[in-house]
Amino acid sequence: MPVIETKNLTYTYPGGTKPSISDVSIKIKKGEFALITGPSGCGKTTLCRCFNGLIPHFYQGELKGEIKVTGLNILENPIYEMAKHVGLVFQNPENQLFALSVEKDVAFGLENLGVPREEIRKRVNWTLNLTGIYDLRERAPHELSGGQQQRVAIASILAMQPEVMVLDEPTSFLDPLSAKKIFKVIYELNKKLGITVVLVEHRLDLTARYADHIIVMDDGKVVLDGEPREILSSEEARLIGIGIPKATRLYHILKKDGVKLSNTVPLSSDEMANLLKEALKVHD
């Protein structure tokens, strides 16, 4: 059973004239690292809001089609029920931290659920250690860098131990190095804990290597959906203007010019480097 399944999902914001997403049918499997990408305004954030019921419960508006997340029908479950199963991390780290200390923020979700105090303490410490922010636990949010704040936001979702974690451009406010570190953290959560990850991201250079599945959206619709190496090699992807990793582009340019390279398409510079080394060895 897929963790997230939508069928012909169409949604219009209240007062909107045309749907922000239309006819979206996707399946995301358990344990997958799925990447959603596409130009600004194509409806990525809107789709994310459907995953935990912010749409339609918080935003109202008109939702058509079917959506099930972790087997639960969004329409029949309030947001706080969905929050136990699906965690959402937003773009701006500053606006998702409420408390005056890091550990209090990480505890916030569990407090809301009425989890006993000792259990909260245990889970908060576990989460702080896992995300590498244990030393920051008593700091106030405004004393942290953007990268640290986003780690706290991720930790505060992780503490609720959701089955799926949805991250909507979590690094767009961060510098490349902090972004890289955040992606590492996310990847480890996916590999070590088996949490299903849905990552919305433009920086495919840094993220494509982790993905099992890529969904490309354009103008509210899903236009490409499948295996990363295949999707990123396609002509359509290039025309939509998504940020295809440079290694992948280079591979195709070299291949077209007749350079003999193996058939696995590289998604990162490391993979490309290995490919080139191999090719050079053959020539010797």
Binding site: H57, F58, F90, G114, R117
Partner: protein, 262 residues
């Protein structure tokens, strides 16, 4: 930014900071009551002095002095009015002076005790204390979140101010009304951004199971420790002594005392 600096609580650890805020608040109230029931100079001096050990123990002398200086202007107004009124009502110079000093000191004692409370109580603790005294959680949450966003909004206000100045906005130009109008191009973006921020916050709160249960838990819990008992005993002691003196001991004025000695 300097206006907001005073709102930034400095995290320090001291025996006073670790006291239960509820007990500290009762102490402040007790001092308040005592300051009100005495109008003579000598007991008010005593009241002023017995609070100084708290300031020293808490290690907040610098902040404390700053807040006292903040009250200096009001204190001097209180002094002058009381002195002038008493003097022209026909009381002697010495007596008017003593009376005015006493009333000013009463005001200073009030500021003193309040600033000790706020300088040594973290907003987190204060929120927790509100919660545990039965204040609705929504209210406590609004309080701590507001405190959390003070530095953020202050920084944002500064950024907007710089941006508008770079476009030629002159803040310190014109008469009083004009100057107030000058702030409109700063207030509007600030308000718009605050509204957007609050929407994002609401979204994040919902996503973390806000309102899932009426029986919310809290990571922290306030417990009464040995030092808190100590403070309760001190408070009761001071209050009882003060009431006893008020009722049964005639208090000489400083003037009479000095005359008696010489």
């Amino acid at each position: 930014m300097s206006v907001f600096d005073g709102l930034k609580f400095r995290r320090v650890y001291s025996p006073i900071h670790n006291l239960d805020p509820r007990i500290k608040f009762i102490y402040v109230l007790a001092i308040f009551v005592i300051a009100i029931i005495f109008w003579e100079l000598i007991p008010l001096i005593v009241l002023f002095i017995i609070q100084i050990p708290f300031v020293v123990l808490a290690g907040v002398k610098r902040e404390w002095l700053r807040s006292m200086r903040g009250g200096a202007f009001l204190a001097s107004i209180i002094f002058v009015t009381n002195f002038v009124v008493a003097y022209f009502a026909g009381r002697g110079l010495a007596e008017s002076l003593e009376n005015a000093i006493a009333l000013t000191l009463r005001f200073i004692v009030l500021i003193e005790s309040f600033s000790i409370f706020f300088l040594t109580t973290s907003p987190d603790h204060l929120g927790l204390a509100l919660e545990q005294t039965g204040m609705p959680y929504e209210f406590c949450f609004a309080f701590t979140t507001a405190v959390r966003f003070v530095p953020v909004l202050a920084e944002e206000a500064q950024t907007i101010m710089d941006a508008q100045k770079a476009r030629g906005l002159e803040l310190e130009r014109g008469n009083f009304l004009k100057r107030i109008r000058n702030y409109i191009p700063i207030l509007i973006p600030l308000i718009v951004s605050a509204i957007r921020r609050s929407l994002e916050l609401a979204e994040a709160m919902e996503s973390r199971a806000w309102g899932a249960t009426k029986k919310r838990t809290n990571l922290y819990v306030l417990k009464i420790h040995k030092n808190d008992f100590f403070l309760i005993v001190i408070t009761i002691g001071i209050l009882a002594t003060a009431i006893f003196i008020r009722l049964y001991v005639p208090i000489p004025s400083l003037n009479q005392l000095l005359k008696g000695i010489f």
